[in-house]
């Protein structure tokens, strides 16, 4: 059973994986502890909290279009993670496909331009709100600052 509290590097690795894969629930890792395969490792040195070996667990996370599963394999030696492998993710190709088919492109940065300096007939954004909505908001602001 992998307990992240006692194995700091696991936390870091976990965070890195999340950064790459997007936010996902690691509950699968905990829940599948019983399934984890442990190989070799009858360690006799000192007093490691965990038996050396290779552990595998599955996790899942939701993407905008599906629930993806990944498999994380961790090798522990004397409470230190010596190898991590993230694999599986058979549905990832679908994600790529989803993006290619339904999303034309993504830009990391958009630069706003002054509306007065571009030639447009009109502007569309959030619905322009009428007096009623705006007045109600103003009333609340003034109540809040009384």
């Amino acid at each position: 059973m992998i307990r992240t509290t006692a194995v700091p590097r696991t936390v870091r690795v976990g965070a890195a994986a999340m950064g790459v894969m997007g936010a996902f629930a690691l509950s699968g890792c905990v829940a599948s502890g019983a399934d984890a395969a442990s190989e070799g490792a009858d360690s006799t040195d000192s007093t490691p909290s965990y038996a050396d070996g290779t552990y595998t667990a599955e996790g899942s996370y939701a993407t905008p279009e599906s629930v993806e599963t990944i498999s994380v394999t961790v090798t522990l030696e004397s409470d230190v993670i010596t190898a991590v492998e993230v694999s599986g993710d058979p549905q990832a190709r679908e994600s790529q496909e989803y993006q290619a088919k339904f999303i034309g492109g993504i830009s990391d940065a958009v630069v706003g331009q002054d509306i007065d300096e571009i030639s447009v007939s009109r502007v569309a954004g959030s619905s322009l709100t009428s007096g009623g909505f705006n007045k109600a908001i103003e009333d609340i602001k003034s109540q809040a600052s009384d």
Partner: protein, 289 residues
């Protein structure tokens, strides 16, 4: 052909500013037809007025004669709900009201509550009638304004058959064109993030910045949780009708939105709250990236 000064008629209705632009001033008869069209739609669908059809139906459940737009709008709602896995739901009215976006504009947050997930068991419709099996508040906010823009555009045909813009505060339909539409930056209304040209089509926009009140609350809620969406800040959809453009602009706040847009042939742009911009395959929008 030198374009003379165009006529612009502005008025306030259903909680937004309208502008109808045409080559010549619209006669009183045309204005009366537009007014009546909006009034009749509002009397049927507004959850903000107690005398509307949806308010009466919501109080007592039961059934009512179907407004002429019921099937078109609710059929599309069913598609939206399915595409977004229930994030869009026509019975989200009580959820919105509880968060403070209610008929009295109280903006008092009563907390998050999910809309009924099994809404299709509660709300049924046919060409003849609309029925609720239990008390619930119908909210057609995901596409209703678009539908009304389409109705107003149609109503104006006798007076403006080929050159008119109906703009309901950011949801607009263009007959003729092209119109160059600036895409308002959701965090700075003085700026635009790009331009879309619209010819004989509709463009609807949705953003979380203006219909917003305390504690990060705004009008785009996930019906499954009652929580406001956090990932997407603004969306724009271009489609043959404003109803479909409006529906896509709503769907694009959620998972499944790009697929819905693809299946409906909607061109779109959206901006995330961390400043990225995404666009549809084949988008012709000019973006300032």
């Amino acid at each position: 052909m030198s374009p003379g000064p165009r006529s612009s008629w502005r008025f306030d209705a259903i909680g937004t500013m309208w502008e109808i632009e045409a080559p010549h001033a619209l006669p009183d008869a045309a204005r009366a037809v537009v007014r009546a069209c909006i009034e009749s739609f509002d009397a049927e669908w507004s959850r903000f007025r107690s005398d509307s059809l949806v308010s009466a139906l919501g109080r007592e459940a039961g059934s009512a004669r179907a407004p002429s737009d019921a099937a078109a709008m609710l059929d599309l709602y069913a598609e939206l709900a399915s595409a977004t896995d229930g994030a869009v739901n026509p019975l989200v009215g009580a959820t919105l009201a509880r968060r403070g976006y209610d008929a009295g504009y109280t903006f008092t947050d009563g907390g998050a509550s999910a809309a009924p997930r099994a809404w299709r068991d509660i709300l049924t419709w046919s060409a003849a009638e609309v029925a609720l099996s239990e008390s619930a508040i119908i909210d057609v906010g995901a596409l209703g304004k678009g539908r009304l823009v389409d109705l107003v555009l149609d109503a104006l045909t006798p007076w403006a058959p080929d050159d008119v813009v109906v703009d309901a505060g950011g949801d607009l339909a263009v007959r003729g064109g092209p119109q160059r539409i600036g895409l308002e930056h959701p965090y700075d209304p003085r700026r635009a993030i790009g331009i879309i040209e619209v010819t004989d089509a509709a463009l609807c926009a949705s953003a979380t910045n203006r219909r917003a009140w305390g504690d990060g609350l705004h009008h785009v809620l996930d019906a499954r949780t009652g929580e406001p969406v956090r990932t997407i800040a603004a969306t724009w959809g271009v489609a043959p009708t404003a109803m479909v453009a409006d529906a896509a602009a709503t769907a694009l706040f959620f998972e499944g939105g790009p697929r819905f847009a693809y299946e409906r042939g909607v061109e779109w742009v959206r901006m995330t709250t961390d400043g990225r911009v995404e666009w549809s395959p084949g988008s012709k929008a000019e973006l300032f990236t």
